[in-house]
Symmetry: D2
Subunit: 151 residues, 4 copies
């Protein structure tokens, strides 16, 4: 009987395995809640120990899940032997990051041979309503022939 | 006998107090290592539980200390009753964030009445050598008449 | 019999009038081809005298129409006595800007009291096909009580 | 008798030749006023036909000279057979771009094998005083084996 993993597309297994190696995701409590070709969603339940001085989730933590969502959205479209590195990103914080959980939804805007561009919107779920709290543009590089970078 | 804090300029006390309210700084182990007018430094010892899949400090964590360093650099120049909010930032990750510690050094580029722009470089200290790992441009807003935002 | 202008919504008239005061648009040959609430399109026919060293339209010219499209998308949602200023933007150049014309399509992502965020994609039309050549995130400020800034 | 050009370092000749192929620079009246290893300055006299609706130089024109200054700062450090392409940039407009001339000064922040990061500040010269009007971070790619991209 096939396991759940063996039924997933190969890119999904690779993505979930790499996400599992991101220690920071475990530390902050982030979960990989969706993987599709060119699209990834990461969910982060609210935690008081991740807040800035006003009690909102810190912009850097919002960026942490958005950057990983972008990186893995790009990764789903890369060759199996490639690794992904963030070159740079820009993020606008458009509303306080408060609520029961944050949901980062990233998609590939343009997949190039070397450079990929992704966009990510982050929403706060509060009382059953989603509200956009951040929007990111992220530039990533496909890295080949660097065996020390495992995914 | 005056305490160290009472000898500090008023903006330094405000900045250190606000930094102390950022729960995420305690969680990741970041320290406010320098406060001057328009300049702030934050230091983060390397931790395995903040890494991405290749064992480098995650770009979002690098951004977390750089964003707070920018925010507090701006805050040092603001009126005592104002609060500071990040509008947006852009960060380039220029080298792997590995080493004994990361040091984020931010300075105000332009302080406006409503909008302030800061720049921050982040360095990794490794074997006694500093190497730049990231550079950020950050746009901040001075917020007045919002008593719920305490600094 | 009402003129076309008098049938337009008030924000469209204001936007078209302000666009008409942008001398640079006349200089490069850009046209305001669509104005709706929160959405603006600017079209720029290809010109050899706007190219960079490889014969593509220069990234700065691509940005010029994208920035104005963002500014006017924001402006359509602003009070009649307000002016709009760009705080900052970030643009990714994802393909060579070549073709018969460039089309910049901007939309408001988040309209705040002071700060508005817009997104803009720029497409090159070539042989009847549109191809994305750039994507921008733009942060704008609503300026009041500055009568010297006429729109 | 050697010409001025033959006395220049090889990278300066390449840079000046490539700048000479940017038609847009001629169109707007921009001049390459300094070329050094990793540093380039471009100067643009004020022109009414490059303004936005308030009579300031348009943000896109400010970006045009800043982007070229960054591109050529990067180019000075590249191999002779390489071409340079802008991946993306972010620019903050910190003051109205008015005055007798604009001066864009770019420098390489980090030169990598594939990706280079440059920073550029743009100043307006007015009544003998320079004032910063914009600051940019720019990410560029070294392109090899693309003979159709001539510099």
């Amino acid at each position: 009987m096939p396991t759940s993993a063996s039924q997933s597309p190969e890119f999904e297994n690779r993505t979930r395995a790499s996400f599992g190696r991101q220690e920071v995701m475990r530390t902050i409590g982030a979960m990989l809640t969706r993987v599709a070709a060119g699209e990834v969603e990461i969910t982060l339940p609210f935690r008081n120990n991740l807040t800035q001085q006003h009690g909102f989730m810190h912009a850097g933590i919002v960026s942490t899940i958005a950057d990983s969502a972008c990186g893995y959205a790009a990764y789903t479209l890369m060759p199996a032997d490639a690794a992904v590195l963030t070159i740079e990103y820009k993020v606008n914080l458009v509303a306080p990051a408060v609520g029961e959980r944050l949901i980062a939804r990233a998609r590939v805007t343009k997949a190039g041979r070397t450079v990929t561009v992704c966009a990510c919107d982050v929403f706060a779920l509060r009382d059953g309503q989603e509200k956009m709290v951040a929007t990111m543009l992220n530039t990533l590089m496909t890295v080949r022939d660097r065996p020390e970078l495992n995914g």
